[in-house]
Symmetry: C2
Subunit: 130 residues, 2 copies
Amino acid sequence: MEEHELKLIIAQADDAINREDFDAVMSFYAEDATLVVMPGKQVTGRDALRKAFVAIAEYFNHTLHVSQAEMVVIEGAATALVLAKTHVRATMSTGEIYDVERRATYVFKRAASGRWLCAVDNSYGTDLLQ
Amino acid sequence: MEEHELKLIIAQADDAINREDFDAVMSFYAEDATLVVMPGKQVTGRDALRKAFVAIAEYFNHTLHVSQAEMVVIEGAATALVLAKTHVRATMSTGEIYDVERRATYVFKRAASGRWLCAVDNSYGTDLLQ
C-alpha cells in the first residue's frame, strides 16, 4: 500500500513517548480517547492517559522505546483503522531486557480541523480475545 | 466485560447478511465506510459495499453464514474498536464445506443521531500484516 500520512504521525507520537514528552504525547489523542494499558485495564480521557504514560515510563525504568515496523492503514468514514507491528523495548531496573513485538490496533478519527487524533490505542490487538 | 450495545447491533447485521437482505445490511454502515473484501482488496462507499456483498453471497453459493463468538468492545472518542472471533461457514458449489474462524477488527462511529455505524469492516484483523 502507498505511504499514509498516519505513518508519520504515529512515528512522531512514538518519538514523543520515547523522549517522555508527555505534553507532546497527549496532543496526538482525542480528548476522550481510550488507551489499553494492559489486557483487562483501560483508561479514558487525556488526564487519565497522561497519568498512565507517566506510570508506564516509571515501570520501564525510563528506558522505554516504542517503534512500529510494518503498518496497514484502512480509512473509512473519517476514521482509520491502523494495524501495526509494534516493537516495545526497555531495560528493567533488574537489568533484564524487555523486548516484545505486538500486533497493535489503533483507531484514529479526523477532527473538524482535519487533523488525525487517536481515539482508541490498543497495542495488544486481537490478543485481547481469549 | 459487560454486554455492549454493539454486540446486539453486530448480531443484527450478521442476521441481515445471512438472510441476504442487502438493504438491511447497508443500514449498518456509514455512507463512506470501507470493507476489506479479502486481503489486498478493499471497497469504500455504500454502493461499492452492496455490490461486494452481492458478489460474496454469489461466491459462497448463497449459503454464507457469519456469526461472532467472543467479542471485545473498546470505546473512545465517539468511536469503538470491536475485536471479534468471527465464524464464516458456507457450502461451496462443489459441495466442499468452507468453515473458518477469523479474528476480526471493526471500527464503529457514533452518528450525530446517536446511532452506531460501521466505518471500517476488516474481518481479517491483524492477519493483513505480513
